[in-house]
Each structure stands twice: as structure tokens, then as C-alpha cells.
């Protein structure tokens, strides 16, 4: 098993407020790992560190065997680390298709972007209907699809998703997760952040629980389901 992503003792935060206190994680090629935990405990900060939007204070991030801790964000994307940020962060005044093309900004010359586009449209047929529409006029679910589709356009080695269910209706969440399960079946490596373990159980092989900038628990989805007391302690009762 080769490690696709290996994070060792990562410490980071904003200005004088440390958020992550030494976080380590390994994700092997073809794996799907989920990080769950309450809001405001460092999940998004961790992802921002991985993609280079935020600098790590100490610790290392190695991707495909190379230390990328000090690489700028654009180079990490070029290396195959694709981060679909929380809340979509679309280019609001661009059309669906332009947004998708931006996802393939780092694609090598001669890459078949048309084919990639068709793949995204096959996964999310609704986007094909709306391809010319500016994204700010889309529904929340459609915007999420553009966000994920834009990430897929990069054809990276690792897809990092920050709360893909955030703010969506249950029916739409199912649709989004069905697409992720399909990508998993194709062998995609995924790192996914969610608040609630029940969402990720169909997608993830391994679940990490983050609390106050530490991983406090990890295990398989089945083990998570069995450890109700742990989940209740950190995530609250249902």
C-alpha cells in the first residue's frame, strides 16, 4: 500500500489562534477517508492546510511521496490534490460550463476537456441542461454539483470534499452521495469532511473523529456505528 497522502504532526491556525494541534493522517491510494466532528474544531482548517490556502506552522504534508508542505496552492493542484471547498465558492458570474472549465485550468495541453465535461454531465445530468446559465442563478443543490463537478474536471489523484451535504435538502444530499459512491466504484481516492458519521458510512473506509484540533478516535464505519457512546460524547445525542 502506497500512501497517497501522509500528514504528520500538523500544527496550524489563524494569526495567534492555533486550531490544529499536531494532526496525523494517512490515506492510501484508492482509499476514502472521512473526517467527522463538531463544527469549529478544525476540520475545514485542516483541509485548507492540505491544499495550501493556509500555511502550516509545523509538521509535514507529503503527497505522492513528496513533501508539499511549503508548496503554493497552485502547485499542489497541478500535482493532483483537488480541494472542493466548503460552500462551493463558485465563480458566481460565470456560466456552469465556464466554472467547469476553470476546474481543468491546470490540465496538461491536449487533454480531452470535452470528454471530461461529458463525464461530469453524465454524473450530474441537470448541469448539462443548465450549462449556459450563470451559477449564481442556480439552486443550492445545482451549485453543489457544479462545485464537485469542477473538482472532478481536474482529474486529480485525490478529491478533497468539505461538507458536501452542507445546507442541502435530504433528497439532494442523497443525489450528491450517489454520485460520490459512483466515483468510489471507479476507484477514486477521496478525503471527505462531514459533521455527521451517518452520511459518510457508504463512501468511507476509515473515519477519523476530530475534536478541538486533535483526532480523538478513528475506525471503520461499522465501528463508528458500534461506538455510539463515543459519537454521543463528541457529537451530541440524537
Amino acid at each position: 500500500m502506497t500512501a497517497l497522502l501522509k500528514v504528520t504532526d500538523l500544527v496550524s491556525g489563524y494569526l495567534n489562534r492555533p486550531v490544529l494541534h499536531g494532526v496525523s493522517l494517512q490515506l492510501n491510494s484508492g482509499d476514502a477517508v472521512a473526517i467527522i466532528g463538531p463544527n469549529g474544531h478544525g476540520k475545514t482548517t485542516f483541509l485548507r492546510c492540505l491544499s495550501g490556502l493556509l500555511k502550516a506552522t509545523s509538521g509535514t504534508i507529503s503527497f505522492l511521496g513528496q513533501d508539499v508542505s511549503h508548496e503554493p496552492a497552485h502547485r499542489r493542484v497541478a500535482g493532483g490534490m483537488v480541494h472542493v471547498p466548503q460552500g462551493d465558492q463558485l465563480f458566481a458570474d460565470m456560466s456552469v460550463e465556464e466554472n467547469l472549465f476553470m476546474g481543468a485550468y491546470r490540465a496538461e495541453k491536449g487533454a480531452n476537456l470535452k470528454y471530461r465535461l461529458d463525464e461530469v454531465y453524465a454524473l450530474f445530468p441537470r448541469l448539462a441542461e443548465r450549462r449556459g446559465q450563470v451559477t449564481k442563478s442556480l439552486s443550492g443543490g445545482e451549485r453543489r454539483m457544479v462545485g464537485i463537478g469542477r473538482g472532478l474536471m481536474a482529474k486529480g489523484e485525490l478529491l478533497i470534499l468539505d461538507e458536501p451535504s452542507l445546507g442541502l435538502a435530504p433528497k439532494v444530499i442523497e443525489e450528491i452521495y450517489a454520485a460520490l459512491v459512483e466515483k468510489r466504484r471507479d476507484g477514486a481516492s477521496i478525503l471527505i469532511v462531514e459533521e455527521d458519521p451517518s452520511r459518510v458510512s457508504k463512501v468511507a473506509d476509515q473515519i477519523y473523529l476530530m475534536d478541538a484540533g486533535h483526532f480523538v478516535w478513528s475506525g471503520s464505519p461499522d465501528e463508528a456505528a458500534a461506538s455510539e457512546d463515543v459519537m454521543q460524547t463528541y457529537l451530541g445525542g440524537k
Binding site: 491544499s51 495550501g52 490556502l53 503554493p72 496552492a73 497552485h74 493542484v77 497541478a78 483537488v82 480541494h83 471547498p85 465558492q89 463558485l90 465563480f91 458566481a92 458570474d93 460565470m94 465556464e98 472549465f101 476553470m102 476546474g103 485550468y105 491546470r106 469542477r150 481536474a154
Partner: protein, 292 residues
């Protein structure tokens, strides 16, 4: 009828010069999120560079345009590398960058004053002659200015809309972090935008100087007008800036003609005040409105 044609042409000519300056200012605002107070000085520099190249180096006058374009781009790049780059990453960058670029403007203007003195110079480049349009004599200089501006705005529009380079600029303006996650080198985009906006400012200054004279402070009034145009259009709204340049120039020219020359600019300012009362979100809105 003759008056109307004449006024329309004057508005278009004036407006197209404003548009070049305003579009650049708007691009910088949109992509870098900064107000470039050095824009007027860039214009002044473009005008002096063209004059110097023609007078001192003996270049054929029409090449003056290219000189102002290149020198404008160069000062844009320098301003970014020496000033903006270091300030926009700081906390409180919004205010600091205004002070920093205003300082740069003073430096440029005072250097010009030191080298050339305060006397007004004529711009050696000029297109002479006139053509008759519908029985109205139209001087070729105006036609030329209009053409240059149209070509440049057309080139910028093409770059922004049809090229990967332009798409990266628009993406950076709309969402800087997301652009970085797509693999856009936003630092490079900043540099490109500063070069592009500087080039437009340089040419704009050169064209304006053909209508008046060159002086070290000549960039002040057009810069203020460009800013006014951007505010009315909604800061960062590049297309709006282009359109508003023509509209406000028309207002300025018509008021200047019918009421008195000195009322043109105040009329423009009055329009801004009214627009801001009616639609303040252009400037003070919580969400930055960016439409490219």
C-alpha cells in the same frame, strides 16, 4: 443637427479616453481588490513617455502610442513589484494600499516635475485634417482617438472573455481562494492585471494630452473622473465602467455646452451623488459586486 453631431462626437471621444482609464482602474479593483491612486500618474507618465520618444528620440509620431502603452505597462508592473505586492497581503490593506499608491503617484509626478519642469508641453503627436460626416466637419484627431480606444477596449474584452488568461483574471476577481484552488497563480494574475491596466492608463494619458497639454499634474482630473465612473458603475464592474464612461462624458459635454464649460465636471459629480443615494451598495455594499 450640426450641434448634435458635434456634441455626440465630442462625447464619444472624451468618453472613450475616460473608458480606457476607467476600465483599467476597475480591473485592478476587481482582481486585486485595491484602489490604485497611482492611476493618474500612470497616465501622465504615458503622455510624457510618448512626447519624449517623439521629440528626443525622433520616433515617428504614431509610434508614440506604442511607447505610452509599453511604458504604462512597465510602470504597472513596477508599481506591483515594488509597492502593491507587499501591501495587499497585510492586514488593513484596503487603506494602506491607497496611501502607498498615492505616495507612488507623488513620486512619479514630482520626478516628472523635476525633469521636465512645470511648463505645459504640447503633445507632438497629432492627426491633422478633417472629414465631412453628414455635412459636419469632423476632425480626424477625434476619429483617431475613438478608433484607438475601441481597438484597445475590444482587445481587452476579447482577452477577458475568450482566453484562458482572461478567464483566470475573472476567476481571481470573483473568488480569489477558489481561483487558487483551481491552480491559478494569483500573484501572476495580479502582475498581469497591473500591466494591462497600466498600458491602458498610459495610452489614455497620451490621448488626453493630444486634446490639451502635458503637465506633471495632468493625470489628476482624469483619474478622478475614472474613479467617479467606476463608482457609478459599481466598483470592479468592468463592462459597466466602459458604458458609464461614455454616458458620463455625454452628460459632461452636454452640460458644459448648454450651461457653461465649468459646470461639466460638477454635473458629473452630482450624478454620482444621486446614484450613490439611490444605490449605495455599489460602493458600501457588504458583498463586493464583481461583474467581469
Amino acid at each position: 443637427m450640426e450641434t448634435l453631431v458635434q456634441l455626440t462626437l465630442t462625447s464619444l471621444t472624451t468618453g472613450s479616453m475616460y473608458a480606457l482609464a476607467a476600465v483599467g482602474l476597475s480591473l485592478i479593483w476587481g482582481a486585486l481588490g485595491m484602489l490604485n491612486m497611482g492611476h493618474g500618474a500612470f497616465m501622465t507618465l504615458g503622455a510624457y513617455a510618448a512626447m519624449t520618444a517623439i521629440n528626443a528620440l525622433g520616433l515617428p509620431p504614431f509610434l508614440g502610442i506604442f511607447v505610452s502603452l509599453i511604458v504604462g505597462a512597465a510602470i504597472g508592473i513596477l508599481a506591483h513589484l515594488l509597492v502593491a505586492k507587499w501591501v495587499i497581503v497585510q492586514d488593513g490593506a484596503h487603506t494602506n494600499i491607497m496611501v502607498a499608491t498615492a505616495g507612488l503617484a507623488i513620486l512619479i509626478e514630482d520626478s516628472i516635475l523635476k525633469i521636465y519642469g512645470g511648463y505645459p508641453y504640447p503633445q507632438p503627436f497629432s492627426v491633422t485634417g478633417s472629414v465631412s460626416i453628414g455635412g459636419v466637419a469632423v476632425n480626424l484627431q477625434s476619429v483617431f482617438i475613438l478608433l484607438v480606444a475601441l481597438v484597445l477596449v475590444g482587445v481587452v474584452a476579447f482577452l477577458l472573455l475568450k482566453t484562458k488568461f482572461g478567464r483566470a483574471i475573472r476567476a481571481t476577481a470573483m473568488n480569489r481562494d477558489a481561483a487558487r484552488l483551481m491552480g491559478v497563480r494569483t500573484e501572476t494574475v495580479f502582475l498581469q492585471v497591473m500591466a494591462l491596466a497600466g498600458a491602458l492608463a498610459g495610452v489614455s494619458g497620451m490621448l488626453i494630452s493630444t486634446q490639451a497639454t502635458l503637465s506633471p499634474m495632468m493625470g489628476g482630473a482624469p483619474m478622478l473622473k475614472a474613479f467617479v465612473i467606476c463608482v457609478v458603475a459599481g466598483l470592479g464592474n468592468v463592462w459597466g465602467a466602459g458604458v458609464m464612461a461614455i454616458v458620463l462624458a455625454f452628460a459632461e459635454v452636454v452640460v458644459g455646452y448648454s450651461i457653461g464649460l465649468h459646470f461639466g465636471f460638477p454635473a458629473m459629480l452630482l450624478i454620482v451623488i444621486l446614484v450613490l443615494i439611490w444605490r449605495p451598495e455599489g460602493l458600501f455594499g457588504k458583498e463586493r459586486v464583481v461583474r467581469l
